[in-house]
Structure formats: structure tokens, C-alpha cells
């Protein structure tokens, strides 16, 4: 690779004969890394292909798309089945929105604190704790939602049952905070110290430093942090299945029980007959989740590009 050819002449001349042999493992490693890089694209397309293949026959032959998007009747095992996902879609959006409303300020605040304000010793401790938080399996979060948060929500809000949007939102927020914190902290750390020094030298307070210098400078990274958090929240399955009460309806309050798209797939896919309409419609939901993820990422990309464009101008 480029590094070899740009080596200074001295060492190259001395190891002239051996460098030819040294190139062999280098080429191998290069090929391997190239493969790793391509494999990500391969996997994404592969997954989309297989999901599409399972869902397509029903999507183009039999599924009433108008009902699919505008009805909240989800009765796939009835004698006359109905496949309306409006309730599931609004459920997913409601839980995700609440989770983000909690997790974004909390996560970014924590990232700023860890990166800028706390002592090195505390920083190490906090980072370990946050990484631990990220490592908790989602089923354990679901269990906490079910056993601990459920009675607490009943006691505090007087709701008839504590498995609802509020519960799901809190659990998802707690699950996405570690992602937001660690990626956000990386982004803030990447801002050169000279920016900080310049701002302080100009007499900025620490708050002004964070708000006027670091946030604009780390905008892309922070946005990526938030969007990874959104991704975590929207794609989460087991914890929301347990936390939201899994009841299909269009929610009207925070204390309503809901059913999400992902939880529906998790709860129903294993029991469907392969190749049946119910089986295929779950894959159509999978395709929809793909589209949602794609739109979120695309928006993020465009926003980041917009920001960059303005900065360059």
C-alpha cells in the first residue's frame, strides 16, 4: 500500500530483499480488510433481499395497502383476517418519541459532563458505569419494566396498569442513553483543544464554551449520537414487548398501552405457518422497518451535509 512506497529511502534500501516477502502478508491483510469492509454492504443487501423475498408475494398479491396503513385492525389469525398496522405504527412512534424526549437531553448532558466538566478520576468511573449500562441485555430491561417499573407507575400515576407508553419510553430511554453518551463524548473529545483554549482566552465562560464553540464544532458527531439512539429505540424488541403492555390501539395518552411493530414480529413470527399470509405480512412489516431506518439515516446524512455545506461557505 501507499505506506510502503512512501517509506524513506534509507531503511528501504537496507531491507531491499526482505521487503518483497513482507509484501505478501501485507497484501493478504489488505484483502481481508477490504473483504470486511465490503461484507457490511453485502450483509445489508443480503438481509434486505431475504426480507423482501419473503414479504413480496403478499405485498404485491393480496395485501390491501390502504387497509395496511389506515386501519388499526390487526387480526391476522381471524377467519377473515385484517392486517391494519396504524395502531402498531403509532405505538412505535409514540414510544420512540417519548424515549428520545427523555434520552437526548439526558444523554447529551451526560456526554458534556463526562467530556468537559468532571475530574479524570470520576470520568473513568462514569465511563465504566455507562459501558456497563450499555451491556445490560434487553431482556433484563424488559424484566425491570415488568417487575419494578410497572408497580411504581401504578402507584405514582394511578394508572390501571403500569405497562404502557410511559414505561416503554423510560426503558428505551435508559437503553439509548449509553449509546448517546459514548458516541457524543467521542464527538466532543474530537474537537481540538485549541478551540477550547481560544474560547477561554477570549473570556468565554464554560457554559458559553460548550454552547457556542463545542456544540457547533461537534454537531455532526452529536447528531450521529442522537440518531444511533433513535435507531436503538426504534429497533428494540424484547424490552418493549414486555414494557408496553402489547395492546394494539391508537394511543391517546401516555398511560395507554400500545403494541409496536418490532414486538409484533417477535411475538408472532415463530408461530406462523411458513409461506402463509400472516408470515408474509410480518416480513412486510420488516420491510417497513427497513424503510424507516433508511429514512432516518438519509435525513441524518442530508442534515449533516447541510451543516457542512454552510460551514464551508
Amino acid at each position: 500500500m501507499a505506506t510502503v512506497s512512501t517509506l524513506p529511502d534509507g531503511p528501504r534500501a537496507r531491507r531491499g530483499t526482505s521487503s518483497r516477502f513482507r509484501r505478501v502478508p501485507e497484501l493478504l491483510i489488505e484483502a481481508l480488510i477490504r473483504l470486511c469492509g465490503w461484507s457490511a454492504i453485502l450483509f445489508v443487501f443480503g438481509i434486505f433481499f431475504f426480507v423482501f423475498r419473503e414479504g413480496a408475494p403478499f405485498l404485491f398479491g393480496g395485501l390491501n395497502l390502504r387497509e395496511f396503513f389506515t386501519s388499526s385492525k390487526w387480526n391476522p389469525t381471524a377467519n377473515t383476517p385484517h392486517y391494519g398496522i396504524l395502531g402498531l405504527l403509532t405505538g412505535t412512534l409514540a414510544v420512540t418519541a417519548l424515549a428520545m424526549a427523555i434520552a437526548v437531553p439526558l444523554g447529551l448532558g451526560a456526554a458534556v459532563f463526562v467530556s468537559e466538566f468532571c475530574s479524570p478520576k470520576l470520568k473513568e468511573g462514569l465511563k465504566i458505569a455507562i459501558e456497563m449500562l450499555a451491556a445490560i441485555p434487553s431482556i433484563v430491561w424488559g424484566f425491570i419494566a415488568y417487575m419494578t417499573l410497572n408497580p411504581m407507575i401504578i402507584a405514582v400515576t394511578g394508572a390501571p396498569v403500569g405497562l404502557n407508553i410511559l414505561n416503554g419510553g423510560i426503558i428505551l430511554a435508559l437503553m439509548s442513553v449509553p449509546v448517546i453518551v459514548s458516541v457524543g463524548e467521542d464527538a466532543l473529545k474530537a474537537v481540538p483543544d485549541s478551540y477550547r483554549e481560544a474560547a477561554l482566552a477570549l473570556g468565554a465562560s464554560r457554559w458559553e464554551l460548550v454552547y457556542r464553540v463545542l456544540f457547533p464544532a461537534a454537531k455532526n458527531g452529536l447528531l450521529a449520537a442522537v440518531l444511533l439512539g433513535v435507531g436503538r429505540a426504534i429497533g428494540e424488541t424484547m424490552a418493549v414487548l414486555m414494557a408496553t403492555g402489547h395492546a394494539n390501539q391508537i394511543p391517546t395518552s401516555l398511560l395507554d398501552r400500545v403494541q409496536t411493530l418490532t414486538a409484533t414480529i417477535a411475538a408472532e413470527l415463530g408461530e406462523t405457518v411458513q409461506g402463509g399470509d400472516h408470515y408474509r405480512v410480518l416480513f412486510v412489516i420488516g420491510m417497513l422497518l427497513f424503510v424507516i431506518a433508511f429514512v432516518v439515516n438519509l435525513t441524518a446524512d442530508l442534515v449533516v451535509r447541510g451543516v457542512r455545506g454552510k460551514q464551508n461557505a
Binding site: G37, G142, F143, M147, N150, V161, L241, H246, A266, E271
Partner: protein
């Protein structure tokens, strides 16, 4: 940000490669395993069978999975399992599908009976509920949404709203309840909470004073109460017991089925005859369900059978170790594994 991406990609790829490799080289199961999948109502019962059977037949290991009767029947139709357990009968189109896919006709074996119990929180003062009331609570367009409409002073439920809890839509219990209580074509009310397992449902009810739910009677714990059920409002109800399930006074009694593809043979046939024999049937009774023997003897001499059944009902074994929290935990873990990788949730008796 680009820095971050560089690090994660190879790691991700490596992880996926490892996963794939693991999948390819995992050991293939040999003929001595019997794959049993299906009803959640029968899950504990099947696990008890598997454990006992493995003790006397160490070379045979039955693999038990829950997931709902629908899952078992789907597995049978796809020819992937040996025995499907179900708390509802197979539908004609499912039998047709199994025949088309595998060329064999499913064989139905009744291994016991269950009284589908109506669960409420242990401090709920309600005693008896009628099928009409249940239909109004669960059915689409039903008018009953609050406890006072049932003349129940459910003080612990501050909100007063009834939280109706159901099972996931592939459950045999879900299908049976829709058939018997809602009446076939009627759908469940929107906003009905569904739980993916019998134990999970019982745990939720035990934590929720406003809730009402239905499940097999084998999942009773000390934290829940089972209501008496009557056919019509005002009529005296019957408690869900072995006795009432037998004499027909309990309106929601149902058979529990095993299905095999064609006539069972070899190890599967031996297992099924063991299940139908005295040892298997004793476990049916221990797990809180009604064994076949009781049904037969009650056909001949109703009083004696009922008496014996009633006596056995009282034995504390029926309620053995169904600790609410523990069950919830197990179910949760099961559900998680089910989502990730089917194989890992197989439960086998220890070697």
C-alpha cells in the same frame, strides 16, 4: 465520527462471521431426541414429562418448546417436529396443509383436560363472572370497561378501569377463548393486552389489581384468584377444578391434545404410550390438570371419580413451585431466546 465507524465495521464483520461459523458447525441432533413444540398451557406439563421420562429412558431426550399451540401446529405442518402440543383442536385447513406438505395425516391424541380459568388479582373481591360478562369485557364493541359495571368494589384498583389481558394471537388458549366466549367471528376489543405465555400472564395479573385474564388452571399461584364461572349472569358459577371440569358444570373445560404426523412409531410412539400410561397421567394430575383416567372413571361412576378428583385437587402438589416471580423470569428469558435463536430455548433434562 469516521474514526468510530472504522473501528466498528471490522468488529461487526468478524462477529457475523463467527456467528455464521457457529451455525454451520453446530452439532446435528440425532434420532434419540423427540422434538415437542406448542401449547404454552401445556409447557410445564411437558417439561415434567420430559424430566421424568428421561430418568427412566436415559437414551431418549425429549426437547420441549412453548410458543403457543399455533407454533406447534405450524411446526407439524412444516414437518419440523415430532409432536405438536395444542390446547385447541387442529383446524381443517391446517390438517389439509399438513397432508399437502408432508403427505401424512395428523393424528390426534387427547392426553388430559384443562379448565380455562379466569384470573384476577388476589385482593379483587369478585367471586363469580358469567360468560356474557366476559364477552362484553373482551369482545369488540363490548360495553363493560369498568369494575363498577360488574358491581365489584375493587378498591385497590384506583382508576376503576378493567385491564383485560389476553394471550398472543397464535395461542391455542386465545383461539379457544375467542371461539367459546366471544363466539367465533367476534374479535377481541382493541387495546386488549396480550401476553406471550401463561406464566407471564399470571405474573402480570398478580401485580395488577385492575386486571382480569384467562389461562389454563395449572398456572395458579397464591397471588392470583380464580373466579367461578357461570354460563349466564345470575346463575351460580362453578370454580375451575378437576371435579367441575369433569362433570361439565364448569363452562370452559377443554381437552389438551398431542398431534403427530401419521401413526406414531419408534421412540415417539413409546413416549406417547408412556404419557398415556399411569406415570404420565400422574404428572398430568400433579401439574393441576385433569388426567384421562379421571374422565373415563367419571363416565362410569361419576361420584367416585369426582370425589377422588376433589381430594387430589386439594393436595398442595398441584400448586407446587409456581412462584410468581420465578416463573416470570423464566418466561422472560424464554421469550428472549425465542426471538434470538430458536434452538437455544430448547429445554432438555439434565444429563
Amino acid at each position: 465520527m469516521p474514526k468510530h465507524r472504522d473501528r466498528t465495521l471490522p468488529a461487526l464483520a468478524a462477529g457475523l462471521v463467527l456467528l455464521l461459523a457457529g451455525g454451520c458447525f453446530s452439532k446435528r441432533l440425532d434420532d434419540s431426541t423427540i422434538k415437542i413444540t406448542g401449547s404454552d398451557t401445556m409447557l410445564q406439563l411437558c417439561q415434567a414429562w420430559a424430566e421424568e421420562y428421561h430418568k427412566t429412558h436415559p437414551d431418549i431426550s425429549p426437547q420441549i418448546r412453548g410458543g403457543g399451540s399455533g407454533m406447534g401446529i405450524a411446526g407439524l405442518c412444516n414437518g419440523k417436529i415430532d409432536i405438536a402440543t395444542a390446547s385447541r383442536a387442529m383446524k381443517p385447513d391446517e390438517i389439509e396443509l399438513a397432508k399437502n406438505n408432508t403427505g401424512k395425516e395428523p393424528k390426534e391424541i387427547i392426553v388430559g383436560r384443562d379448565a380455562l380459568a379466569i384470573y384476577v388479582h388476589k385482593d379483587n373481591p369478585m367471586e363469580t363472572i358469567s360468560l356474557d360478562e366476559l364477552a362484553e369485557i373482551y369482545g369488540e364493541g363490548g360495553k363493560i370497561t369498568r369494575w363498577e359495571q360488574l358491581d365489584v368494589d375493587n378498591t385497590l384498583c384506583r382508576d376503576g378501569q378493567i385491564v383485560q389481558v389476553s394471550r398472543q394471537n397464535s395461542s391455542g388458549t386465545y383461539a379457544y377463548f375467542r371461539e367459546e366466549v366471544l363466539g367465533g367471528e367476534r374479535q377481541y376489543k382493541q387495546g386488549t393486552t396480550s401476553q406471550s405465555g401463561s406464566a407471564e400472564l399470571a405474573t402480570l395479573i398478580s401485580r395488577t389489581p385492575c386486571a382480569i385474564g384467562y389461562s389454563g388452571m395449572g398456572y395458579k399461584t397464591d397471588d392470583v384468584k380464580l373466579l367461578n364461572v357461570s354460563a349466564k349472569k345470575g346463575e351460580p358459577g362453578a370454580p375451575p377444578t378437576v371435579e367441575t371440569a369433569l362433570d361439565g358444570s364448569y363452562p370452559l373445560a377443554r381437552p389438551l391434545y398431542l398431534y403427530t404426523l401419521g401413526e406414531p412409531s419408534g421412540a415417539v410412539q413409546e413416549f406417547i404410550s408412556w404419557v398415556l400410561g399411569p406415570e404420565g397421567q400422574a404428572l398430568v394430575e400433579r401439574e393441576g390438570y385433569v388426567p384421562n383416567a379421571a374422565v373415563e372413571s367419571s363416565d362410569k361412576e361419576p361420584t367416585e371419580g369426582a370425589e377422588r378428583a376433589a381430594k387430589d385437587e386439594g393436595s398442595d402438589e398441584a400448586e407446587k413451585d409456581h412462584g410468581g416471580e420465578q416463573d416470570g423470569a423464566n418466561k422472560g428469558a424464554d421469550a428472549a431466546e425465542k426471538q434470538g435463536d430458536g434452538n437455544s430455548s430448547d429445554s432438555q433434562p439434565e444429563q
